[in-house]
Symmetry: C2
Subunit: 205 residues, 2 copies
DNA sequence: AGTTATTCTTGACGGCGCGTCGATTTCTGT
DNA sequence: ACAGAAATCGACGCGCCGTCAAGAATAACT
């Protein structure tokens, strides 16, 4: 069919396989939202993505791998968003930076709730996912730690050092957004507010 | 055999089934520690508990149910320990109460790390476990909220109310003990210290 | 003790989802 | 048009699950 081969900006249309791979990821995201990870089956995935069960393994080694790719894609969006935080600007108020960080995190959760939730749930059990999630968390923690140090928290590795405190607060945010997303309450904006408040108290030397 | 039937304090020795049930739970706890939940199989469980696969289902409906029973037993130990916290005593300093709460929680994690870890991991995915864990968390949150109110946090359901703040901090502690247990570092006592510090900052009006 | 009722154990069965593989079809460049 | 690569298919065997009817062990009763 399609002999026209419309000339989009990009030369060389994506190969058939690229399309299919994306269809699989899309199906995965939809099914994560509708039935949840456990109930997803390679069969249902391929049914929705077009094709048969066996074909799946041309693209991914495992169901977990496919979801891991989805997680990767999503957390990298967060990563990009946080990169543009002007952490080291001179006049930046630490608390405001954290608030901005929270707001941008909230945005990703709002956009990709099911994927983020699944990541939180599966990170402990599924290595492929746990790895990507850990990397993402580390990145956030590092950024937050820099801010915390700016705010005056001790730059030590002791139990009252910026690193230790930040690690816990980041984890808190993770859990908070997760819970709010799962139960559809309270609204994410309230979670952001509560987190912001707690950070504020912890940064105030 | 054994016609002697030693007279223990308790009349009427436990029925054979009770013994077996306990053997299953014991096997479950050991295997949680050694191979982890996913790798536990009803077969391996019964092999260690004595008996054959089919017999398992006389005691539990499912592998998840067995582990849920184990979780139940463990969190109820925590519950008992926290009940004796003199929350409403007149001269009690709120921060000290929280610190004591943290110390007792730490003790349970130290004693039953594998079970607590498994509970955290499985609560989101396995309803039978999620229910018990949620109940336990609610109990802790309620206690902590009472303390937070004593410390002066607003008794409202707004995003800066004691309930909202406490919910997040409790979750933080959960995640912190989990991580420290899993990675065997930092020592639980340090986690307790860091948590205590954060609570302190949040309770200082 | 002997008989009955209950508790407990067993092994076999069918089902589901997984991951592999070789055979086959569809694409792509030349 | 043709060769090689990319993509698809369907069948196979595996492991673990939960059910079940039949049988053995145990407790209760007289």
């Amino acid at each position: 069919m399609g002999e026209a081969e419309v000339d989009t900006g990009r030369r060389r249309g994506r190969s058939k396989g690229d399309l299919r791979e994306e269809a699989i990821l899309a199906a995965a995201e939809r099914q994560l939202a509708s039935v949840g990870y456990e109930s997803i089956t390679v069969a249902t995935l391929m049914e929705e993505a077009g094709g048969t069960r066996g074909g799946f393994y041309f693209y991914f080694r495992t169901k977990a791998d496919a979801v891991a790719a989805l997680v990767e894609r999503t957390v990298s969006a967060l990563h990009v968003s946080l990169e543009s935080l002007s952490v080291d600007q001179p006049g930046a108020e630490p608390v405001d930076l954290i608030r901005e960080l929270l707001v941008r995190t909230q945005a990703i959760w709002a956009e990709h709730g099911p994927v983020m939730s699944a990541a939180v749930e599966l990170a402990p059990t599924v290595p492929a996912i746990g790895d990507r999630w850990a990397a993402a968390r580390d990145a956030v923690t590092q950024t937050a730690t820099r801010i915390a140090i700016q705010a005056g928290l001790p730059d030590s590795s002791a139990s009252d050092g910026a690193a230790a405190v930040t690690a816990l607060l980041v984890r808190m945010g993770e859990g908070a957004f997760y819970e709010a997303t799962k139960r559809a309450a309270p609204p994410l904006s309230e979670v952001t507010a509560t987190c912001g408040l707690i950070w504020q108290r912890c940064l105030g030397a």
